[in-house]
Amino acid sequence: MSTAPPAVHVSGLHKSYGKLEVLKGVDFSVAAGSIFALLGSNGAGKTTVVRILSTLLKPDSGTAGVAGFDVLAQPERVRASISLTGQFAAVDAILTGRENLVMVARLRQVKNPGQVADDLLRRFGLTDAAGRRVATYSGGMRRRLDIAMSLIGDPPVIFLDEPTTGLDPEGRIEVWKEIQGLADSGTTVLLTTQYLEEAEKLADRIAILHQGTIIVSGTLADLRKLLPAAKAELVERQPTLEEIFLAVVKKEPS
């Protein structure tokens, strides 16, 4: 671990909706350039944390900083450092894929919006669908477009709120590949997920948010230490249904 300041730092975060206490003192930090998974069941407060970090919601107490800026004191600097991909693909269904990308590029005052859009369309395999309205896209295509929109302007920190919820296995693997690619190029990724497998595959560090607090956090190896040591057993390993599905689907020429 380097001594660089964390890309995301959260401390003592509290948030209630009326009488319902959603966050009861959440603390964690995310090292720059790493993938951090916030794991939790539905309603655990993952989205609330992400909304606070994206300056969409104010915490009741506690501090939250992104890229060295405080979310309450310097919200504009925070917004310039992040991109949010929300739980539901926040794309404009009436515009075409390319128009969505050009729109975001113009809003972020990026040079050559058209060029930026075309590059991203190619990278995310959407070139053929570029001129079609997003309303005609599949769930996986929408999600890819959504993530592509988040990359415009090269924000150093990206929040992905349940990026693979509702995707088929192939779509999920594509998104995983992109997330890994982002981290490899130095972007900090904070992702929330309810899929244990996703956290296991992608994350450098994992935190489990349960009933408003982080109950466990660390690397996968750290978390494994919390359980009894692994036993060696001889078991014939059957292929998982996912492996079968992918194998069968790949045989078909598309």
């Binding site: 909304r51 994206s54 300056t55 969409l56 919601l57 104010k58 504009e76 917004r79 310039a80 992040i82 991109s83 949010l84 929300g86 739980q87 539901f88 693909a89 926040a90 794309v91 404009d92 269904a93 009436i94 515009l95 128009e99 729109m103 975001v104 113009r106 809003l107 972020r108 005052q109 309205r133 929109m149 302007g153």
Partner: protein, 253 residues
């Protein structure tokens, strides 16, 4: 940041104008329904209505324009509501842009799209015999009143779009507004109405706006009507804007 406001708002305007032009039902209802009313009143009821005027098309033009605007702004509420629902509103608010551009994009789209439908309606009116000798200044005054009326109702629509929990809620507020011209001087002189109806008709905003526009087209003195009309529009605008901003602040925390 402030230099971004204009550019951001321009992008937002371009975006929702595309929404208008790409949903044909919007374009059709916003222009066809008032045109249908115009045909109905001119060619069906018109012969029986004693408006005390030689050219009934001239008489009904202002009211038809107001109906078009009142039905047009329901789509403003609808578009804003959809943005709130789809999550794109939150995406915009998490971006390094002037946040005000998100709402102003909708407001300007409302003004532009309603202006287009009013122009179409006046073109049809000309075909049906609408004639005026009004000069440039009078036309500009009419345009200004209609724009102000659009702005006022647009901010009412913004409240509905921000606060609604269903599509119906985001659009239903406009139905009574569409109905208001019928209870005004828009189609028949208020003097023919029974007491309480007449009292309502003569003291609601549409009558003063209709009378002011009519006077401008006929090059008559506008009298106090124009000030009452402007007072209503500015009053509605200020109150609706204040409410909309309150709802907006509560929504974005």
């Amino acid at each position: 940041m402030s230099t971004h406001v204009i550019s951001n708002t321009g992008v937002m305007l371009g975006r929702s104008i595309r929404h208008v032009t790409r949903s044909m039902d919007t374009v059709i209802t916003v222009t066809i329904m008032p045109i249908a009313f115009m045909l109905l009143f001119r060619y069906v009821f018109g012969g029986a209505i004693q408006a005390g005027t030689a050219n009934y098309t001239n008489y009904l033009m202002p009211g038809i324009a107001l109906i078009a605007i009142a039905s047009g702004i329901s789509y403003t509420g609808f578009r804003l509501f959809n943005d709130m629902q789809s999550g794109i509103f939150e995406r915009f608010h998490s971006m390094p842009i002037a946040r005000s551009s998100v709402l102003w994009g909708h407001v300007l789209t409302s003004v532009v799209s309603n202006a287009i439908s009013v122009v179409v309606i006046f073109a049809v009116g000309l075909l049906m015999g609408f004639r005026t000798s009004a000069g440039v200044l009078a036309w500009l005054a009419v345009a200004a009143i209609l724009t102000l009326f659009t702005l006022s109702l647009t901010w009412v629509a913004m409240i509905a779009g921000l606060a609604a929990s269903s599509t119906d809620g985001a659009t239903a507020f406009s139905y009574p507004l569409v109905f208001l011209p019928f209870l005004s001087s828009a189609f028949v002189p208020t003097a023919t109405m029974p007491g309480p109806v007449r009292a309502f008709a003569e003291n609601q905003p549409v009558t003063s706006i209709v009378n002011a526009i009519r006077a401008l087209f006929e090059q008559q003195p506008v009298g106090s009507d124009i000030w009452i009309a402007l007072g209503w529009c500015v009053g509605i605008l200020v109150v609706a804007y204040a409410f909309a901003m309150r709802v907006y602040r509560r929504k974005i925390a």
